[in-house]
């Protein structure tokens, strides 16, 4: 088990845990946190596998992608959190109402 593989598998583990939490938990804050954990997992996979270069500094392109991804994730999380607060203010609860039966 090389360090690179360890990073990548940890990233996948985070991704899966986040996915489970997103589906199963009802509280909106937990769902948003789950998405963040999933995002961290993806970034770990992207960045971790960049270290497979034979010599020199790791591949810079995935690192730049991770930076871009982090900014996008921050933007999305900010919007999600404020929307969650508005949902709570409007409905009194921080869970989504049961979907209309379809």
């Amino acid at each position: 088990m090389t360090p690179v593989l360890l990073y990548a598998l940890t990233g996948l583990g985070l991704f899966s845990l986040g996915l489970y939490a997103l589906i199963v938990h009802a509280h909106l804050l937990r769902k948003i946190l789950a998405l963040n954990v999933m995002g961290s997992g993806v970034f770990l996979v992207l960045g971790g596998l960049a270290r497979r270069v034979p010599q020199g500094a790791p591949d810079p392109v995935p690192q730049a992608m991770v930076i871009t991804g982090i900014v996008v994730a921050v933007a999305a999380t900010a919007l999600a959190l404020v929307l969650m607060l508005r949902v709570r203010a409007a409905t009194g609860r921080t869970v989504l109402p049961d979907r209309q039966s379809d």
Partner: protein, 488 residues
């Protein structure tokens, strides 16, 4: 296929123009509406200019930064991209002419609408021109966040919860897609679609990426059973926003799926095309049945979107042997659905403004009092049902022909049944438009621009039926569907 490096300047303008408009509308709040309309008109003209350039010179490429893939990002405009861009321009222009009257009494909402909508348009244009899968991720996020914020604009509880559900679904879809991008990059050393098309070979990494990216994009395109977020979001958004969501935003993720399928995954996905076709068939039947059950107009139209999107996925199994015909039919269907569905939602917005509600059973003789709007709804319905002479007819006819030629009786039956069910829910609405409601009410006047925007879009959907030949030849520029002709 011509390659000119400094070409596609119109494409660059097409991306930067709405971006500039968004920033200006954010800065100059008092004149946001003027800036918005001006940007919309300019962007539409730019799209037409780009179309002309592609028709004359073939596929155009642009290496951003001058570096070229795999180091840099490439933009590419072929017939399919241009079709999508023209679709965006047509619907976008109509929305931009509808919105000022719609938000007339809510100046703050109007100020907030324009920057968000122009960011959305930037995302759409950038998406249809991009040839880089990571760049597509960033455009998808631009699209998704703008769409969510627009959905939440009314501030009512149903709009906020619909937007929240939409946001969670779209973020999940993006993350699934991004993990797929990560795997493809680390497996094959590039995120450029053309380069990946050459380097990709069947392997666990490609299968994993296919699964992840397809699931993410299916979630964003609301294909059954991942459609749960669409009806609440599209129904509770403001009418112009619902039109955008159903007409354009869901088509964007479908476009990406189509590109990836055609260029990278197509030859590797035995079995996957059958799955897509099956889910599409179920979506048609399920969505249409649910639409029949609805008592509120906007929910009915939203479920109709779920059903119509199913048609797009029928091309996957059909294209295995019929390649270009099936894909062209689907692109054509996407275009006519965009015009027709946008017209329907705008018409629903008019009815909502007029009566203060959108209960189908209580539509009070609107055929006499809002003839333009009812006409728009009826014409749009013609295209949705697939009746001649409309764009919807051409698309569905091509698909049906292909299915019958291949002996796929099941798919053909589903298509015909879908058309009958569509007729059912369209006529349900139109039937009530003629009757008097139990309690009459004081009608609120609907501005002419709102009625005409809806009607012009609907007429466009029908006129598409007469433009089949030029449209299909436009789609074929650059032979985007050629890859699927070569089967192992």
């Amino acid at each position: 296929m011509e390659q000119t490096t400094i070409a596609l300047t119109w494409g660059v303008v097409l991306i930067l123009l709405p971006l500039a408009g968004a920033m200006l509308a954010f800065l100059f709040r008092r004149v946001a509406t003027l800036i918005g309309i001006g940007t919309a008109v300019a962007t539409s003209f730019t799209a037409v200019a780009l179309a002309r350039a592609v028709i004359m010179d073939g596929t155009l490429h642009h290496a951003v930064g001058g570096w070229g893939a795999p180091l840099g990002i490439d933009l590419r405009a072929d017939g399919l991209s241009v079709l999508m861009l023209l679709m965006t321009a047509a619907v976008g222009l109509a929305i931009s002419l509808y919105a000022p009257a719609y938000f007339r009494d809510e100046s703050r909402k109007a100020e907030q609408f324009w920057p968000l909508w122009l960011f959305l348009w930037t995302g759409l244009n950038a998406l249809f021109l991009s040839a880089d899968i990571f760049n597509l991720y960033v455009t998808l996020e631009l699209l998704g966040l703008a769409a969510v914020a627009l959905t939440a604009l009314p501030g009512r509880a149903d709009a906020l919860t619909g937007a929240m559900r939409y946001l969670l679904a779209t973020l999940l879809g993006s993350l699934l897609y991004l993990l797929g991008v990560a795997l493809l990059y680390h497996g094959f050393g590039s995120v450029d679609i053309a380069i990946l098309a050459v380097r990709v070979e069947p392997s666990p990494v490609v299968w994993a990426a296919l699964g992840l990216m397809s699931t993410g994009l299916l979630l964003k395109t609301a294909l059954f059973p991942l459609h749960f977020w669409l009806p609440p979001a599209h129904a509770s958004a403001p009418a112009p926003v619902s039109a955008l969501l159903s007409a354009l935003v869901v088509k964007a993720s479908f476009y990406i799926l189509l590109r990836l399928w055609l260029e990278i995954f197509g030859t590797l996905g035995e079995g996957v095309d059958t799955l897509f076709g099956l889910l599409g068939a179920v979506a048609i039947l399920w969505g249409s049945l649910q639409a029949l059950r609805q008592t509120r107009l906007k929910l009915l139209i939203a479920y109709s979107t779920v059903a119509q999107l199913g048609y797009l996925f029928l091309a996957f199994p059909l294209a295995v042997t019929a390649g270009a015909t099936a894909w062209s039919a689907v692109a054509y269907l996407a275009l006519s659905h965009a015009l027709a569905k946008a017209a329907m939602f705008l018409a629903a917005g008019n009815l909502l403004r007029f009566g203060g509600h959108d209960r189908i059973a209580d539509l009070d003789r609107v055929v006499q009092r809002l003839p333009l709007t009812t006409g728009a709804f009826a014409l749009a319905g013609v295209s949705i049902m697939g009746l001649p002479p409309s764009g919807g007819f051409i698309g569905k006819w091509l698909l049906l022909e292909t299915a019958l030629a291949q002996g796929r009786w099941g798919l053909a039956a589903v298509m015909i049944l879908g058309g009958l069910l569509a007729a059912g829910y369209i006529f349900k609405v139109l039937g009530h438009a003629f009757t008097e409601a139990p309690e009459t009410h004081e009608p609120i006047e609907v501005p002419a621009s709102m009625e005409w925007a809806a009607l012009l879009l609907a007429m466009g959907a029908v006129l598409l039926g007469f433009l089949a030949v030029p449209a299909l030849s436009l789609i074929g520029i650059g032979d985007p569907f050629g890859a699927s002709e070569v089967m192992p």
